[in-house]
Subunit: 157 residues, 2 copies
DNA sequence: TTTAAAAATGGAAATCATTTTCATTAAGGA
DNA sequence: TCCTTAATGAAAATGATTTCCATTTTTAAA
């Protein structure tokens, strides 16, 4: 968590201000949690992590902030089909860590993978180009996910 | 819509009975609507189509039936991110019509595409094989979607 | 520093697709 | 036809997310 006495010094201060957003305590704390989180957090997960130390940041603000962060491209909003959105920090310009997800339909575990990304990106580019032309569709984004059973869950079965 | 006098004669009668399910009027009608539908219908879409002629088939039954049909693999449950599930008839063994979707984030229009499916399938197989081995993850399913703006929506902008 | 406009906030209430409950009905084997 | 059990519909419950609105905070101007 950021020290309360050096607010607004993070590298993302500029990103906020540049888009007319104000960098508030709530936003900074949420961003901080996300940037340090391992997995894929739901709004409530974030609320739980923050609440003990910042009991006056409400769940509503978390939802609103996550929307803003998604708009700014600082966070990805993910849907693994369990009825609640998950959020993931979009690494800065340095660690642009393009990856996709393996989702276990047994226990909802999610594995990040980067394997085959090169071939994938190649196919994706080709596909995007072709589809853009054929359907006059401007593709801005893609979603690739694999579903199945993780090691533990296939053993159980 | 099926004629009321020849119930249970459809090619899917066996599929139901084989899995211990009963073939009811509601299920038959829902399947019929889906098999003839062009696009991607929500539960309520289906309800609207059915209700005039079969006013005693409730929305609850539609949800339940769609679950059954998904389990049987006769229908695909889709999520285009607009907060309601969509359903699509999974063509029988004949017209196995593997395709993915272009989703317009402007107007929610969805385009089916089959282009590049061959290269895609090849990459997918390779990826699935590699990931299965590396993570001991049994992949049963994949999701690929492209998001962007359709022709009309990019003009508007 | 003072001030005023705009943005952000939190808590409560609303939304709304989907699920659950439960009493009733219908399917299909015997 | 009879009986067991699956299937059904209506109403109520659920639960993640959004909306409302009165209050607070931020920021730029004076
Ligand atoms: Mn991830
Ligand atoms: Mn389709
Ligand atoms: Zn699992
Ligand atoms: Zn569009």
């Amino acid at each position: 968590m950021p020290r309360g006495n050096c607010r607004g010094q993070g590298w993302w201060h500029g990103k906020f201000r540049g888009c007319g957003y104000r960098l508030t305590l709530g936003r900074e704390v949420i961003l901080d949690v996300l940037s340090k989180a391992e997995g894929h957090l739901s709004a409530e997960d974030i609320y739980m992590k923050i609440h003990p130390r910042y009991p006056n940041v409400g769940l509503t603000t978390i939802y609103r902030t996550l929307d803003v962060l998604s708009d700014l491209g600082m966070v990805f909003k993910l849907d693994f089909g369990d009825g609640r959105a998950r959020y993931e920090f979009a690494e800065g310009p340095k660690g642009a860590h393009h990856h996709h997800h393996l989702v276990c339909t047994g226990c909802n575990k999610v594995i990040d993978y980067t394997d085959f990304i090169d071939d994938e990106v190649e196919l994706l580019n080709q596909t995007e180009k072709g589809l853009s032309k054929k359907y006059n569709f401007k593709i801005t984004n893609h979603l690739i996910q694999f579903y199945g059973l993780c090691e533990k869950c296939s053993e159980k079965k």
